[in-house]
């Protein structure tokens, strides 16, 4: 029964989950306390013969207490959330030696550009795959994301990462996978009629497997251009190559 978060597979996922659980425990405790108080009051102070309500207009002391305590708790939450947020989203904090991938989101596919054997994006040996992102475990990546048509959103639940991609904007996202395996990529911003099937796969390799995969890409690239239509179709639906 998989009714909770998918297993964490990124460097930030654990921290996001921890933050979630902190909030869950606090709000859970508040929920129980407040709803229980409500129920107790409903039972204890239900209308009964011979007992009138007590005329009370309020209590300044109570107001101060129940303003200050929530304020302190909530502001603490904000303070705790801020550094993690900055680390994930502020491109100034991204590792300078991260590998780069290009990603273009379009209706209803993910086009990922790999730098090829020379390791640089924007050179002749770059190649593109549809709907599959291949990464090496424990490496830093910065994905340069663009959208061709409408707003899409890059969501990898296992990484706990989401980033909207707005056409006309160049958006960078840092990702560092920490577990090998195959994880799903979903578009999470309504992008048209095929939004529901804009699915991709994120395949995290060991360095050796990745090297092998890269080699197979080089061999396949010649075959790819010949059978572009059918292969792209298979790639889109299955997301493996």
């Amino acid at each position: 029964m998989h009714w909770w978060f998918p297993g964490n597979a990124s460097s930030v996922g654990g921290k996001v989950d921890s933050l979630f659980y902190v909030i869950l425990y606090i709000t859970g405790a508040v929920f129980v306390l407040v709803e229980a108080t409500l129920l107790v009051f409903l039972v204890r102070y239900r209308k009964r013969a011979g007992r009138a309500a007590t005329y009370v207009e309020g209590s300044n002391k109570a107001e101060i207490i129940w303003t200050a305590i929530p304020a302190v708790i909530l502001v603490s939450l904000a303070l705790v959330s801020q550094p993690l947020w900055s680390k994930i989203k502020d491109s100034d904090t991204y590792p300078k030696d991260a590998a780069h991938l290009g990603l273009e989101a379009k209706q209803f596919e993910w086009h990922i550009t790999y730098p090829g054997p020379d390791g640089k994006l924007g050179t002749d040996d770059d190649f593109m795959k549809i709907d599959s992102i291949h990464l090496v475990v424990n490496r830093d990546y910065v994905i340069d994301m663009t959208a061709r048509d409408v707003v899409h959103s890059f969501f990898v639940p296992a990484f706990r990462i989401k980033q909207d991609i707005v056409p006309g904007m160049d958006i960078k996202l840092w990702v560092k996978p920490t577990r090998t395996g195959t994880f799903e990529l979903a578009c999470s911003e309504l992008c048209g009629l095929g939004h529901y099937r804009m699915r991709g796969l994120v395949i995290v390799h060991t360095p050796q497997d990745y090297a092998a995969w890269l080699v197979s890409q080089g061999e396949a690239s010649a075959a790819d251009s010949a059978a572009a239509g059918a292969a792209a179709d298979t790639t889109r639906r299955k997301g493996v190559s």
Binding site: H2, Y45, V56, A78, S81
Partner: protein, 581 residues
Amino acid sequence: MTAAVTAHGAHAHADDRSFVRKYVFSTDHKIIGIQFLFLSLFFLLVGGLLAMGIRWQLGFPGQAMPLGGWLPQGVAPGGVVAPKMYISLVTMHGTFMIFFAVMPLLVGVFANYLIPLKIGAPDMAFPRLNMWSFWLMIPSGLLMLSSLFVLGGSSVAGWTVYAPLSNTPDYTGVHLGQQLWCLSIVVFGASSLLGSVNYITTVINLRAPGMTWFRMPLSVWALFITAVLAILAVPVLAGAVIMLFFDQTIGTHFYLPAGGGQPLMWQHLFWFFGHPEVYILILPAMGIASDVIANGARKPIFGYTSMVWAMVAIAFLGFIVWGHHMFQSGMNPTLASAFMVSTIVIAVPSAIKVFNWLGTLWRGSIHFTTPMLNALAFVSMFIIGGLSGIFMASTPVDMYIHGTYFIVAHIHYVLFGGSLFAIFAGIYFWFPKMFGKQLDERLGKVHFALTFVFYNLTFFPMHILGLGGEMRRIYDPTVYDYLRPLQPINVFITINAFLLFLSQLVMLWNVIRTLAWGKKAEMNPWHDCGLEWTVPSPPPHGNFEHTPTVYHGPYEFSVPGAAADFIPVNQPPAQAGEAHR
């Protein structure tokens, strides 16, 4: 353009207006309020039906709907919801519920009906503008309904109609439908504006002698603050939507990157309206709940002044949190952090209100009438909706839950669990005043119980769907391996949603039965302090024989030494027998 004013004060007088002037093109705020009631209940039904379509597809993907065969084959081949129809359902469900059901129910009904009565005025400041405010809803509603039937279908961009999806027909095949959406919203904006001008001016200038600001009931305060929000926020929506409309029709590129436009600007403009909008959708509910809870507990509202300032704080802060809908949008992360702080802060006044409602119940003498049950449900469900909001306020956690069913759960806990239960409370509470007949208590309690149970069974599991990673607006979650195990939850939700929808028939039956065969209601069946309960049910045109004078605060229940367990606000002090405030 505006009604003139006589010099000798309000008076109800013999009413020989024609049927059309009295009930159709009426300038009487009470009739207009009732017109809004029937209009919005109709659209609540429309919104509910659209939701049934959504739930059918999510619960039983790819299966033919009951009565699906009646739909055109191009829309629902073989009676099965197609992807385009699905997003149309999602878009129009949100649109109809927010603009044509909840907003008119809270504001169009209760602001119109209650404000003049509760402040001791004979009518609104501008009765003819008020009439226009209602009648503009008709073309607005027709434009929106017609968008479902035009070639290309209705808007399929969600109720938030993000550009460039919404302003580029090539991306969706929707042309006229989106334009009709835009026109409808602009007309709606005009209706909302006329209403708000009335509510604000009336509360400021037409209060009866003795009705000082801090003797106004919280329902009036809430509706006044809501009107201020609307005056400031709705025009921004109108401007944004007009630019979107121009992008589609006269070749502008405001939100189209190809021409240098900025899709993100749409989001900023929309949410600058959109966030105050959600406070428009909850503040009147809070006000109604306060009135009903004080009445049901036979106690003054605990911390009345704090309650007022909390609403003012919510309204003010509501203008500086809009970025929290856009945390993941690609906006500057530092700006996002600023919005996180303001969002976190706005939770505080909401918490204050919840504690004050609890304080009101403490040492009360609680009468579990139908309105009271609904108001209590409002408080308990709003607590859940508010707490779930804290998860989203934290930007890293929002990264995961944004755009998932966790958000959908939150939305429905505050809008249904919050606003709609308060609306039910208000309807049951003021029905006798509006129609002169009281809704049946037993049927009311059955409606409440069924609704409360099925509502929680429908929407609570959506939190779990969201944590499992199920995205919003997804036609078929089973496309994703990681979502397939969640499917039993979707089926469970769907079944309960159907039962929730059917449960509303109990209230519908109660309304029909009461209007047709109900007993005449007494003038003040709830033994309430408000001015509306000092006049006949329904009140005559002009409301008060003579302008009332107010001597007491709005919630003088169980005053020690008083003759009864409530003191009407206009009861002269000699009769009250003790000091008043």
